[in-house]
Amino acid sequence: MLELVDVSYRYPGYARLVLRDLNLRIDDGEIVGLVGANESGKSTLCLVASGLAPASVGGVLKGSVMVDGAPLAGRPTHELAALVGLVFQSPNTQRSGVTGTVFEEVALGPVNLGLPVAETLARTREALALLRIADLADRNPAELSGGQAQLVAIASILAMRPRHLVLDEPTAQLDPEGTRLVGEALRALAGTGTALLIAEHKTDLLDGLCQRVVALEAGAMVLDGPAAETLGSPKLEALGVEPPSAVRLRRAAAERGLTLPAGAAA
């Protein structure tokens, strides 16, 4: 279970709070979507939920972030890595730049953990298989497409086998097929008991994937409910978030006096 209790946060050197009085609990195996306009605090929430803020980023955190009931505060960052994984938006900045093959790139995290070679190999193969990119194993990570590179970045975090996973717009640079693959992999991961928090602009992905979706506005949580409820909320567009296509289709049909059969817009 990943839990944020009364969390407020501001970056070093700034007086303004970027996150304000947040409470969020993600149970094991639950997938929670996070939406909001740019600058609403989504990426900051991802950093805080993974423990990197303030551990690496600095700043002031009030409240606490708990993993399975234990606070993250005070732990060294390499311990955080095994508790909460964080996938960033840009595949380029996540590439280590020191490996010659995708296999080595994915294995870098387990190697850093000091695991025995056999364990590293097993984790790496498993992560590649989970994202169905085993065929990329011998490719140069610097020569992949954006979508492939992001799948490698996600596999690199999965190979760490974190208890829980936070993803900051993981499909921003993926094509529809890549997005679908990531969605399938995340669903499979949740099936293993991992709690997932996914910040995303692609509400269609969240619509089919998440049990719950929360929305941020200026660092405060303004919507929190089952995915269908939040993503179907009339407030969503006012927050600068485009509703999923199924919701838009239902609304368009309703404006024309049409009623879609149940499940037709799913």
Binding site: G85, V98, V117, S156
Partner: protein
Amino acid sequence: MPLAVLLVGVLPSALAAGILPRLVRLAGALSLPIGISVALVSIFTRAGETVLFQIGPFDATLEGVDFAAQIIVRLFVLAAALTLFGLTTEPRAFVVDLERRGLPPRLAFAAAATLEAIPTMIERALAIQSAQRARGLDTEGSLRARVRGVMPLVGPVILSSLTEVEERSLALEVRAFGRPGRRHLLWWLSDSPSQRLVRWALLAGLVVLFAGRAAGALPALP
């Protein structure tokens, strides 16, 4: 002695590796700029008894030519040896082997990242150049136009590299890069007895050279 190193060590090794023409070309290009400066300064400013010719107030002396030749040979041998290393050594393999021999992972990463950063920077510069050209920047034509075309690239390349630094370092943190302690590397270089023998022989040769020089048995530059 430098010629002996070149003829007995560097060139045969390059020939065996099939890179002799490339090595000569690269080493020549590397040593040429400094070589020209050394030649000009030495030939015309070194005092000597045998004046070959004069240009204005400057005398070109035979002693100057001799000195310049010695320095240029040394420069070329140095450049050739470094080029031989660069062309025959996979940077990543070199770094992995250094770490296996006890180099701290952070230093090994810094070395590898530095080596790998060059192609990334070139790629980024080309992308920015394409973007600038699409907006009318002239990067072809005369030397002056090319130089002028480079200037708008410098700022974006440096700034974009700097803005990525924080996310890059965070991305490494989430992969336990900061963990202290030993790592079990996935692979290592094979190190045959003959390779070890050559390394020890080179080291012994180096010691002999130092000792010979210290004892005055080997000549120094005039």
